[in-house]
């Protein structure tokens, strides 16, 4: 029988963090950009049906990088949370802030309590709907730490490189075409390979839409926008 041995909490947390980081680093990346008409989410995703980007509520979208089964569970939990809250109070009262906090709590608890941490980073994005409010963009890491990002954010395998790239190139007030072009260029720069429209998953939260602001861009839209820019 193996003897129980002592592991210091620091060591345990470090090991867990390293494990989670490694898992996430294997996956592809996702970018969110604030642009003139709202928010744009761009993911490298070879699958057309297993989505990394999804609608949560009227003004809120979700993106997950890392282990699919894990962020898919988080996505579903987020939809349930948002729909219940919107039904109990009002559709206006569902905010990215409270959802991001709920995610942060849950992911943080799993990180500290469970044997295996979640190998996911997620983004919670909200487009402002008038009233002088600003768009919101939260990044939640595998250990539950939450970051309030401005303008752009990236998660996934090459998040750090993407952040560096976007930091130099990003400007406020890009139009849809320019935003998509910038995101594609960033993805190409860090992977040093051509990104095809077929391997992109892109969705936008468009401020001008009434009710549900989430819209996926179709393959045709992507091809048109990307070939026009060249």
């Amino acid at each position: 029988m193996a003897l129980p041995y002592y592991v210091s909490p620091e060591q345990m947390m470090q090991d867990k963090a390293e494990y989670a980081r490694k898992g996430i680093a294997r996956g592809k990346s996702i970018i969110v950009l604030e642009y003139a008409d709202g928010m744009m989410l761009v993911a490298e995703n070879p699958s057309a049906s297993l989505n990394k980007i999804s609608e949560i509520y009227d003004r809120i979208a979700f993106a997950g990088a890392g282990r699919y089964s894990e962020f898919e569970n988080l996505r579903k939990a987020g939809i349930r949370y948002a729909d219940l809250k919107g039904f109990a109070y009002d559709r206006e009262d569902v905010t990215a802030k409270s959802l991001a906090n709920a995610y942060s709590q849950t992911i943080g608890n799993i990180f500290s309590e469970a044997m295996k941490p979640l190998e996911v980073d997620i983004l919670v994005v909200e487009v402002a709907d008038g009233g002088g409010l600003s768009n919101e963009l939260y990044r939640i890491a595998f250990d539950g730490s939450i970051y309030d990002e401005k303008g752009f954010a990236a998660i996934g395998g090459q998040a750090e490189e993407l952040r560096q790239h976007l930091k130099d190139k990003y400007q406020a007030g890009l139009d849809q075409q320019a935003a998509l072009r910038l995101a594609t260029q960033a993805l190409e720069a860090v992977s040093s390979a051509k990104v095809k429209p077929q391997s992109l998953e892109v969705a936008v939260l468009e401020r001008s839409r009434t009710g549900r602001k989430f819209r996926r861009l179709s393959q045709d839209d992507l091809t048109t926008i990307l070939t026009d820019t060249e």
């Binding site: 609608e55 949560i56 729909d83 219940l84 039904f87 608890n109």
Partner: protein
């Protein structure tokens, strides 16, 4: 809230989710576990009632409409209540019965459809939506036995078979598809009589709206519970169309014009002006 993030939550139905996690928010809460007395049931029956709603099929889809009045016994309780609700991109629901539970059911149904769509990444088939509504009406049966009746009509455009469809329901959740037209609520019978005379197969959108409004105006004339177009306060029936392009509202200005035209024509008929037949005329 932590429990919501556990994996032992229901599938893609918001209705089931409510039942499991927040049953206090369900419309079908029993008022009293031991049941109500006759006097209490009588009192509940005086709660605001929504009245006439109708649906009819036309060439490009299906139309759904309702008047705007709610009644409490012999009193008008609201002149601008909404009975026709958008359910999702291609369908709509109209509800007759006790106003409170009606509005709640319409709201719940809308959330149910979008909830499923978001979780599954695709929307339910039209039949699936109609069945889901049937289960919700059935779940309301104990309430209906206590006088809180909710009777919906559901219309939608079926993108798979490229046609509009109408579903009517009974209080037990029975679901029946109608091929041409249907109306229910206190003025439903009058509206049906009008549509029976005016309905034609494959009408255009304009003709369908005219027939629907004609039927609602007739219902308002014959039934005390149904409100007619109100030119003084500017309240007009709600009309929505489910077609290939999606669900759209018929703008109030257009409804107003068409109501005006119908009433003007009736005035002429009343005065016996020659050359105006009125009856049987559509537009």
């Amino acid at each position: 809230m932590h429990s919501l993030f556990d994996s032992i939550v229901p599938g893609s139905s918001f209705f089931d989710l409510l039942r499991q996690c927040r049953s206090d928010l369900l419309p079908q809460m029993p008022i009293k576990p031991e049941g109500l007395s006759q006097a209490e049931i009588r009192e509940l029956k005086d709660a605001p009632h929504g009245t006439t709603i109708l649906a009819l099929r036309f060439r490009d889809g299906a139309l759904i409409a309702g008047d705007r009045q709610a009644t409490e016994g012999y009193q008008v309780s609201s002149r601008r209540i909404e009975k026709v609700y958008r359910a999702d991109e291609h369908s709509a629901i109209a509800i007759a019965g006790v106003a409170g539970p009606c509005i709640e059911m319409a709201k719940l149904f809308e959330v149910e459809l979008t909830h499923y769509e978001k979780l599954e990444g695709m929307s339910l088939s039209l039949e699936g939506k109609a069945n889901k509504l049937s289960q919700m009406v059935k779940a309301n049966l104990p309430m209906a036995m206590q006088g809180l009746v909710v009777i919906p009509i559901f219309v939608g455009y079926d993108v798979r078979s490229s046609e509009g469809k109408i579903f009517k329901y009974d209080v037990t959740g029975g679901r029946y598809e109608e091929t041409d037209y249907y109306a229910t609520g206190s003025g439903g019978k009058d509206a049906r009589s009008t549509m029976k005379k005016l309905y034609r197969d494959r009408m255009t959108e304009d003709e369908a709206i005219a027939v629907g409004l004609e039927a609602l105006i007739d219902a308002a004339e014959e039934d005390v519970g149904t409100g007619g177009p109100d030119f003084i306060r500017g309240v007009f029936p709600t009309v929505k169309l489910a077609a290939r392009a999606g669900l759209q509202d018929v703008p109030e200005t257009r409804v107003r014009e068409l109501c005006q035209a119908i009433i003007d024509r009736r005035k002429l008929v009343e005065r016996g002006v020659k050359g105006e037949t009125g009856a049987g005329e559509v537009s």
